[in-house]
């Protein structure tokens, strides 16, 4: 951590960046995002297992952009999000500095986005065993049981859109739910609209989701909605060889192979 703080301080002192986006101690036992703009404030930076918020979500926030060039403290999920966002032309090497953090909590600085991409080759997305178990359990259910499971889980959703707001990939200025001609997703929260919203969210994230769990962590009523994106990740692995954020490879869902395999089209 000292290395990270030292580097952050340097960057701010030399004016190489205007803000360091990192984690700090929050209230109670919480951690939260810190926007360090003065070198003397780098001591606020922390990193530990509680720091699960995906900071990449702030890179597209207008107020943060207005501060100037940022450096971002980036554990693996943040690194993945950065590469995915960069591949979607959200930023380039010139307007972002990356202060990486390894799974062993070691500081590693990246000079180029391409280096991050190479680094991530050693850290491919793996669905955690605990989640795999839940997915398997759901797979074993009958269609009706699964339907009832999701109706029950999604019905309480009151559409605060915290899942969307916490997701670094949900950066659209106007989300489909806010489009009303036609109104694809009902504005009020009710069973049908909730199912449609979460279904659509998962579809829009298919092939882009970096499995950071920010959505599920953000949900105030603890809906396990990350299971949906995890399922798409699994399917992408089975059908298209798996997802990994890449700067050049094209997106899973906007590319194709003429010999993509399926067994359901007549």
């Amino acid at each position: 951590m000292d290395e990270l703080k030292k580097r952050a301080k340097e960057l701010l002192e030399t004016g190489a960046v205007k803000v360091v986006i990192g984690y700090e101690q929050g209230t109670g036992n919480k951690t939260r995002a810190a926007f360090i703009q003065k070198p003397e404030e780098v001591s606020r930076l922390i990193f530990d297992s509680r720091c699960v918020l995906n900071l990449a979500v702030y890179l597209n926030k207008p107020e943060v952009k207005q501060i100037g060039k940022p450096a971002i403290v980036a554990p693996i999920p943040v690194l993945r999000a950065i590469i995915q966002l960069a591949s979607e032309n959200q930023f380039t090497d010139d307007n972002l500095l990356i202060l990486g953090i390894t799974p062993e909590s070691k500081f590693v600085e990246f000079n180029k986005l391409a280096d991050v991409e190479t680094y991530l080759d050693q850290h491919l997305i793996e669905i955690e065993a605990r989640d795999k178990e839940i997915l398997e359990k759901l797979d074993k259910m009958s269609v009706e049981e699964r339907w009832n499971f999701w109706v029950e889980e999604l019905s309480p959703c009151f559409k605060c859109y915290a899942c969307r707001a916490a997701c670094p990939m949900c950066y659209c200025h106007r989300c489909t739910v806010e489009m009303n001609q036609p109104q694809w997703i009902s504005v009020p929260s009710h069973q049908l609209g909730n199912i449609e919203w979460h279904f659509m969210r998962a579809m829009h994230l298919a092939g882009r989701c970096v499995d950071c769990n920010a959505c599920a962590n953000a949900c105030p009523i603890a809906i396990p909605l990350n299971l949906l994106t995890k399922k798409t990740l699994e399917e992408i692995k089975v059908s298209f060889g798996g997802y990994k954020p890449t700067l050049t490879g094209g997106h899973i869902m906007s590319t194709f192979k003429p010999n993509d395999k399926e067994n359901f089209i007549r």
């Binding site: 009706e144 339907w147 399917e235 089209i265």
Partner: protein, 149 residues
């Protein structure tokens, strides 16, 4: 009670399946009348939300059909669509949406007989499955008093 007549909607591409369905008609091949055809420029244009909305509006089954691989009028629309369908279908199944009610097919402009067969088998399947009550129950939220959570 009167016998259940499935309501089926077909989303088809303009260049192959729609022409194929036309051929079915001009060839005087008889097929189930339960299907309502909606024509699209290309299968790539068939948004999965249209399928979701169809169930919400009360259909019991859906057919999605377009040009065979390599035959797309726009070169690759059907390839793009196929990728989406693979993920869509899997996610549907995971969420408990009955994928036996969604039939995907490739029907070319020359396959009038195949179109009739696709429709007939789909309608038969849906007839066996019965009305899609699980989805309708959720979609008919407005019948209930909407409140308390």
């Amino acid at each position: 009670m009167s016998e259940f007549e499935p309501k089926v909607v077909a989303f088809v591409c303009n260049w192959c399946t729609y022409a194929g369905a036309d051929l079915t008609g001009t060839s005087r091949i008889k097929y189930a009348t339960n299907v309502r055809i909606v024509r699209f420029p290309c299968t790539g244009r068939i948004d999965y939300m249209l399928l979701m909305k169809s169930f919400a509006e009360g259909v019991d089954g859906i057919i999605v059909s377009g040009c065979h691989p390599n035959d797309c009028h726009y070169t690759s629309g059907n390839f793009q669509a196929r990728r989406r369908w693979i993920v869509f279908r899997n996610l549907c199944d995971f969420m408990g949406i009955d994928i036996r009610r969604i039939q995907f097919s490739w029907v070319s402009a020359a396959e009038g007989a195949k179109w009739a067969d696709v429709v007939n088998t789909t309608v038969t399947t849906i007839r066996e499955l019965g009305p899609y009550t699980d989805y309708k129950k959720v979609a008919n939220y407005f019948e209930k008093e909407v409140s308390h959570g």
